[in-house]
């Protein structure tokens, strides 16, 4: 039995690891952190204490006015490192389930003024003969999405504010025991169609430093292509050293630390200018702004306690009178 169980465990680990590979830059990041540690030790042994140094850095980072003042000789690495470290901790806690991530965004005007969600088969499903399906692409001008424990709900609105599209599970419970997996549906309010079921891609794309400079991906990454949710994507971008502290601002009345990504820090591609504001108290993202060639893209973040009432935000209610379209196995939604 032990060898059988061990063999199954080995196969399971292999399966879990399949398709994952180590991105570049790990050694450089380790060295960077190692060097920061040495700097801290040197600072401490040079007459102060590491704690005092850290407090000074924090005070400089979240100073009351504008950009963080930097004293001559003060290491900017420490300043950014402190803020990024706290943000990483906060995002890791959110990913572990301490918070439901809510994102609101509007399509840039020059982006065609809209997002598009498209129903399509996975590569495996596409190998089978597919039945005729209604044209299923959903344009929408702005959206609100929620993400929690691998489950995503997105609600798309038209230019006039009307509800045009919705995607997500119809239940808030996770699959367990005799329960069937949660039914994931997409609703086309204009054609009054409900499409189901959708496949949840597990671990399809994991954010990593190796991803192209467009770290947040197209707006559609909020659905399946970013299974860990934006928290993980932003977490990775911070861990990869893609942001630097640039001051302090209030965002909708919330004290926030401003971080900017510059082309110097993102050497892989000429990236759009990205600015991230994180809450100065919780260190969770408040707003992400990207200056694209096609316009300004702004995503606002909220973080909700996973109370039963808030978890209801993850559930899609299918209105009466909709025509149901059954999809073959292996269909997903992608958006851009």
């Amino acid at each position: 039995m032990n060898s059988d169980l061990g063999e199954l465990l080995r196969e399971g680990i292999d399966r879990q690891a399949a398709g994952t590979s180590l991105g570049p830059g790990l050694a450089a990041r380790a060295f960077h952190r190692h060097r920061r540690r040495l700097i801290a030790i040197r600072t401490a042994t040079a007459g102060g204490t590491a704690i005092v140094a850290a407090a000074a850095v924090l005070a400089a980072t979240i100073g009351a006015h504008g950009a963080a003042p930097r004293r001559p000789g003060e290491s900017h690495i420490q300043t950014t490192a402190y803020v990024v470290g706290r943000a990483e901790q906060a995002l890791a806690a959110a990913e572990r389930g301490n918070a439901i991530q809510e994102v609101r965004a509007q399509a840039p005007k020059a982006h065609g003024g809209r997002f598009t969600a498209l129903v399509m088969p996975t590569l495996r499903a596409a190998r089978q003969p597919l039945p005729h399906l209604p044209d299923a692409n959903f344009p929408f001008q702005r959206f609100t999405s929620w993400f929690y424990h691998g489950r995503t709900r997105i609600v798309g609105y038209g230019a006039d504010g009307s509800l045009v599209f919705q995607y997500g599970p119809t239940t808030t419970t996770l699959p367990s025991g005799r329960q069937p997996p949660p039914g994931i549906v997409a609703i086309d309010y204009r054609k009054r169609l409900v499409l189901r079921p959708f496949t949840v891609l597990r671990g399809s794309v994991q954010p990593s430093c190796a991803l192209p400079g467009d770290f947040i991906g197209p707006p559609g990454s909020i659905i399946e292509s970013s299974p860990a949710g934006w928290a993980a994507v932003v977490h990775t971008a911070l861990s990869c050293g893609q942001f630097q502290v640039a001051g302090r601002q209030r965002i909708d009345g919330v004290p926030a630390i401003k971080l900017v990504a510059t082309s110097r820090m993102n050497r892989h591609l000429a990236r759009p200018k990205e600015t991230l504001w994180i809450n100065a108290r919780s260190f969770l993202p408040v707003r992400l702004e990207r200056v694209l060639r096609t316009g300004l893209y702004v995503a606002d973040f909220s973080w909700l306690h996973p109370t039963p009432a808030n978890l209801m935000a993850l559930r899609v209610s299918v209105p009466a009178g909709m025509r149901e379209v059954r999809l073959p196995a292996g269909f997903v939604i992608v958006t851009w």
């Binding site: 680990i13 699959p175 025991g177 860990a228």
Partner: protein, 188 residues
């Protein structure tokens, strides 16, 4: 004066090329080991990075870089590296089968997946022992040497770990043909 030099860093020094080459050639294997130990890619990269950082702090020259790095990796994991976070995550994940009242009909979640998820529920040392014994396929003696403990401790940890895995994956025992075979073997 700095407590130790940075000569081993990837930015320069005699070992930087070796480290880069090792990560290029064996990085995926080390990452997969770290994934088995932590349960997900993000934590796995963090664990591997922590191991590399620990490697950079060393004061003596190392001949077998991979063995050294692997030793650090497993020992960090066995020492409960980020144990609190891992426990939190595993509790969340494992509440699913524990709540089960019967066989799980979700076809995508089979016993192998369940075992990998259950692995995260184990204490760090048992997890490290099981990964070394059944994934890396090391002997008891090799595992004991790598973790710096006795063979008896390895044997005991492996036995307790497997028992716990069996308990945690009990809801999968019914409908899975491979498990049915395994159960039959156990009782025979």
């Amino acid at each position: 004066m700095a407590p130790h030099s940075t000569r081993a860093g990837p930015a320069g020094g005699p070992d930087s090329g070796r480290l880069d080459r090792l990560l290029a050639e064996r990085g995926n294997h080390l990452l997969h080991a770290a994934m088995a130990l932590t349960g997900n890619e993000q934590d796995a990269e963090d664990l591997l990075q922590a191991a590399v950082e620990r490697f950079l702090r060393r004061r003596r020259r190392v001949d077998d870089l991979e063995a050294y790095l692997r030793r650090i990796l497993y020992n960090l994991a066995a020492d409960g590296w980020r144990a609190r976070a891992a426990r939190h995550r595993s509790r969340t994940l494992l509440s699913l089968p524990n709540d089960a009242t019967g066989p799980d009909p979700v076809a995508t979640v089979d016993l192998r997946d369940a075992l990998v998820r259950a692995l995260r529920e184990l204490p760090p040392q048992q997890r490290a022992v099981l990964v070394l014994r059944y994934w890396e396929q090391l002997t008891q003696a090799e595992t004991a040497d790598l973790l710096g403990c006795s063979e008896g401790a390895v044997k005991s940890a492996a036995s307790r770990g497997l028992s716990r895995l069996r308990e945690l994956t009990a809801p999968w025992h019914g409908p899975q043909p491979r498990l049915a075979n395994a159960t039959a073997k156990e009782t025979s």
